[in-house]
Each structure stands twice: as structure tokens, then as C-alpha cells.
Symmetry: C2
Subunit: 200 residues, 2 copies
């Protein structure tokens, strides 16, 4: 089955991501992944050198998917900064409401590996979060707000906080609270940094 290599690889990445996202790194075994991808462990090792390597590749591929998803989310919007932020938290609420939701796979894995600063997965996760924050800033810039990156960061903080606290409490109320606080910040920001007539 020479031709299916890429396909097999994809199937493994997908199965591995599902498991890592839900159960973290340590509690997922290579056997689990093999079973989920419907092949044997030996085949897994044919495609990936090690568990760490697999994790890194999984995050790399998810990174691209997430950036794409964010871009298409942004393309669907074309309103004020307030509209954008509202849509974002709306999305968060829907996302966090899924049955066995267990937070962002990236955040989860970074935290699990928090004491291993040099781990490749951490570097990828870091790049990922930075990229999304940047994309969000660009989206806000398009809406014409001044100092978009500053606003993006503040809103991003609320969103990350909401993810953490929803996980801890299982209470989606935190999403609404974060949304409200974010809107307040947006309005305040608009007053002080004004919507620029000529977006930079």
C-alpha cells in the first residue's frame, strides 16, 4: 500500500491529536494511538520516530489547521471591533459547550510540560499562541481600531482565563463574564485610542 503513506500518516496525526487533546501527553500510550488509528504500534514507529516526535508533528499540523480556521473565522466577519470580540466569545462558548471538551490542546500540553522548557512541543505551542494573538490583532486592525495589538492582548488574556476557569468549574458562566469584560475593554479602548480613519 505504497500510495496510502500520506493518508496513513494523516490518520495517525488525527487520532493522536484527539487523544492528546483529551487526555494529555503522559496518559496516552502509543498503543492507544495505534488502536485509535486502526493499525499496530510498529506501523506507528515506521511513520514517527518517537512519542515526542509524534507530539511535535501533531502540534505542527494542528497549528496550521487552527490558523486556517481562525482566518476563515476572520473572513466571515467585517464589523466593528466590538462585533469581532462578541463573535469570538460566542465561538468560545459554543466550543466549550461540546460534550467532552477539555480545553485547548495546546494550552493543555504546554502546562503538562511546563517544567521542560526545551521540549519541542512547547516551542511549537508557543509559536502557535503568538501567531493566533497576532492574527487577532490584525483582525482588529482591519476594523480600524488604534493600537490593535494592545487591545488584542487584553482580550486574549480574558479568553485564556475563561478557558482555564471553565475547565476548573465546568461553568460556562465564565465565558459570559469574560465576554462582558472584553466588550467593556473594547469600548474603553475605542474612546481613548479612537477608531482610526485611516487604518495603519
Amino acid at each position: 500500500m505504497r500510495r496510502s503513506a500520506e493518508q496513513t500518516r494523516g490518520r495517525i496525526l488525527e487520532a493522536a491529536y484527539k487523544l492528546f487533546r483529551r487526555q494529555g501527553y503522559n496518559r496516552v500510550t502509543m498503543d492507544n494511538i495505534a488502536e485509535a488509528a486502526k493499525l499496530t504500534k510498529r506501523t506507528l514507529y515506521h511513520h514517527f520516530n518517537s512519542k515526542d516526535q509524534l507530539l511535535a508533528d501533531v502540534l505542527e499540523s494542528q497549528h496550521h489547521l487552527a490558523v486556517q480556521a481562525f482566518r476563515s473565522f476572520g473572513d466571515g466577519l467585517s464589523g466593528s471591533a466590538e462585533t469581532i470580540v462578541q463573535a469570538m466569545f460566542q465561538d468560545l462558548a459554543v466550543w466549550a459547550d461540546r460534550p467532552r471538551w477539555a480545553g485547548s490542546g495546546f494550552t493543555r500540553l504546554v502546562i503538562e510540560l511546563a517544567d521542560l522548557p526545551g521540549h519541542p512541543a512547547r516551542l511549537i505551542a508557543r509559536r502557535h499562541k503568538a501567531k493566533l494573538e497576532k492574527c487577532f490583532g490584525e483582525l482588529l486592525a482591519q476594523s480600524g481600531v488604534g493600537r490593535p495589538n494592545k487591545l488584542a492582548r487584553a482580550v486574549w488574556l480574558l479568553s485564556e482565563g475563561a478557558v482555564s476557569l471553565i475547565l476548573v468549574h465546568g461553568d460556562r458562566g465564565y465565558s459570559a463574564a469574560a465576554s462582558e469584560a472584553a466588550i467593556t475593554l473594547v469600548r474603553h479602548h475605542l474612546k481613548n485610542n479612537g477608531p482610526e480613519l485611516l487604518p495603519v
Copy 2:
């Protein structure tokens, strides 16, 4: 050494917390803990039935310590809501600046166990976070602000977000951004909910 039981137990709890906080649950072994507490694994099992049980007891004891610490933090303050919030983020910045800081042990463990909703450690962590948020609300109430719990939650979200993002990026700039956003929220809140002349 009949009398030292309580002492030994304490030593174990302390050593276990240090390890769990830094390395999470799965990557810490009972042997590690025994070694850190300078005793054998069998003694560990004399004091605690299982690793899960130990984790639960560790969090329980840390919960009490953290609440005490927060209370004494609160007692040292007696200013406006703005002062309180500023002090809080100042504390966060100092805390996160410690050499091998790895975030809040509670958040970390909850996230690691995110897919095990019934785990006793999660219930304790949940109670813990709720309690701290409540204490924070009470502190704000003392400063005379209206709807203190609402403000507390918004600020708390920023603080949790900052912890996450500092962990991901190792960049303390997030603490400053969170602090600034929090101050903005406080001022806005004071304008709309006014400092009540007669604190409820």
C-alpha cells in the same frame, strides 16, 4: 517514633506538593516522593492509601495554606479597589518571576486531569478556586465597591489568563498587560456601580 507521625505526614505532603506542582501528577512517581521526603515507599503507603489519595490530601492541605495566605495578603491592604487590584498583580508578577515557576499547582493539576471529572483532586481544586474568588470579592466589598463579585470575577479571569500565557511564553509582559486591563475594568466599574457609601 510514635509521636512523629503527624510530622512525617506533613513532610510527605510538603515534598509531594513541591513535586506535583512542578512536574504534574503523572510524571511524579511515588519513589520520587519517598526520596524527596527521605523515607521509603512503604512508609508512604502507611500514611496514604494511594497516589490519588495522596494528591487529594496534598491539595486539601495546600488549599488551607493558600486561603490563609490570601487572607493575610488582604489584611495588609486597606485601600481602594484600584490599590487592591494593583497589589494583586504586583504579587503575581513577583510570584511568576521565581526561577522554576510552573504556574498554580491547582490549575496545573486540574488541567492535567481535565478528562476525569470525578477525580477527587478536581473537586478540591474547584472548591479552592471558588473560595479564592469569593475571598477576593469580599476584599473588594470591603473597599466599598458595588457589585464586588462581578468585578472580582472579571479581574480573576485576567489573572488566570496571565498565568496561562506567562507559562506558555515565559514572558512576564503578560502580567503587566493583565494588570493594566484590570485597572481599566476597575475604573469603569467604579463609574457605573459607584463606590457605595454604605458597604453592604
